[in-house]
């Protein structure tokens, strides 16, 4: 108990509320930077939407937007949802269904010929 108290009281960014879990959380300054990065990526996404020549290059436009969206998704999950610092069981509970979900989307799009342009 003393060891636990010493550990949690000396480090202000330690979290013990997930039972058996002790992990660091980002500081509010890191949260602020994360918010700034998310805002910048969102601005870039919208900016890209309004460049007709870029939109016309669908082979580049669509993957670029998907990549920016994936980066935003990952940043929120890793930092705001603390998955980067969390137990592997929580990581598995999220990434497992996420992989199934994304595979389902891709499989259905293939099934309905969305990639072949039919």
């Amino acid at each position: 108990m003393a060891q636990h108290d010493q550990f949690t009281h000396t480090n202000p960014d330690i979290d013990v509320h997930a039972m058996g879990e002790v992990h660091e959380h980002p500081t509010w300054k890191q949260y602020k930077w994360v918010a700034l990065v998310l805002t910048i990526i969102t601005i870039l996404e919208v900016w890209a939407y309004y460049i007709p020549s870029f939109v016309a290059m669908r082979q580049v436009f669509v993957p670029t937007l998907l990549l920016m969206s994936a980066v935003k998704f990952a940043i929120v999950v890793l930092f705001y949802m603390h998955l980067k610092y969390d137990h592997k069981i929580f990581k598995s509970l999220f990434t497992g269904p996420l992989i199934i979900a994304m595979s389902t989307i891709v499989a259905l799009l293939f099934l309905f010929h969305k990639f072949s342009g039919k």
Binding site: Q3, F7, H17, V62, F90, L93, F94
Partner: protein, 217 residues
């Protein structure tokens, strides 16, 4: 270590982890699959509507009775996306305020969980206001859930998301009421953490919807 934490408030578990946190992650996992089915449906139907209004293209006679402009309002939705992203920042600050109550560096506004919970709820409600405005303007421009495939899949997908945001706002207001009544303490951080995980999940779903529905033409 785990004995020390177990004496905190929770019964011992076989994994050493709190069941409530495992439950919320399992729930979020199942929600991923729910939204994957809705997003798939939208993408499959995308571009297959035989009559307007269309999301990114104008519709002219004879396809449509009159000229119809592209229906999506990207500037408005971009602002509402920013609002939802900022609500996630407010939510993590609410959690940090509860976890670090009384610690150095968490005095004033930064340590006020009431302020950050209220801010998150206000920003979530603002997002819902934008969505209500969008839905209303679409209906006035002739797009309802029965108009075409785009309308059906769009209103279903964004409507489900809006319902999730509404549930999240109610959850936040409940936490705020508890905080006002007795004050949330570090031992209550798990309650805030679970609601924060739900709120951030609603945010990441919107990140996907914003790109797939609004930005990709």
């Amino acid at each position: 270590m785990s004995t020390a934490v177990a004496s905190h408030a929770h019964p011992a578990t076989s994994t050493g982890l709190d069941h409530r946190k495992i439950a919320i992650w399992a729930f979020i996992g199942s929600e991923c699959m729910l939204f994957a089915s809705l997003i798939s449906t939208y993408l499959i139907y995308k571009g297959r509507s035989v009559n307007g209004p269309f999301p990114h293209e104008a519709c002219d006679p004879p396809l449509c009775a009159t000229h119809l402009n592209p229906i999506l309002n990207i500037p408005v939705t971009s602002v509402s996306t920013f609002v939802l992203l900022m609500s996630s920042l407010a939510m993590v600050l609410a959690l940090a305020a509860v976890e670090n109550r009384g610690k150095p560096g968490y005095e004033g506004i930064l340590g006020s969980s009431k302020f950050w919970l209220l801010m998150t709820a206000i920003l979530g409600t603002t997002f819902l206001g934008f969505q209500a405005y969008e839905f209303t303007s679409f209906v006035h421009e002739g797009l309802t859930i029965r108009t075409n495939l785009f309308g059906s899949s769009f209103f279903t997908l964004t409507g489900f998301h809006g319902a999730h945001v509404t549930a999240g706002v109610l959850w936040l207001l409940t936490l705020l009421a508890i905080d006002i009544k007795r004050g949330l303490q570090p031992k209550d951080a798990l309650l805030v953490d679970i609601s924060a995980l739900y709120w951030h999940f609603v945010d990441v779903v919107w990140i996907a919807i914003f790109t797939l529905v609004y930005l990709i033409k």
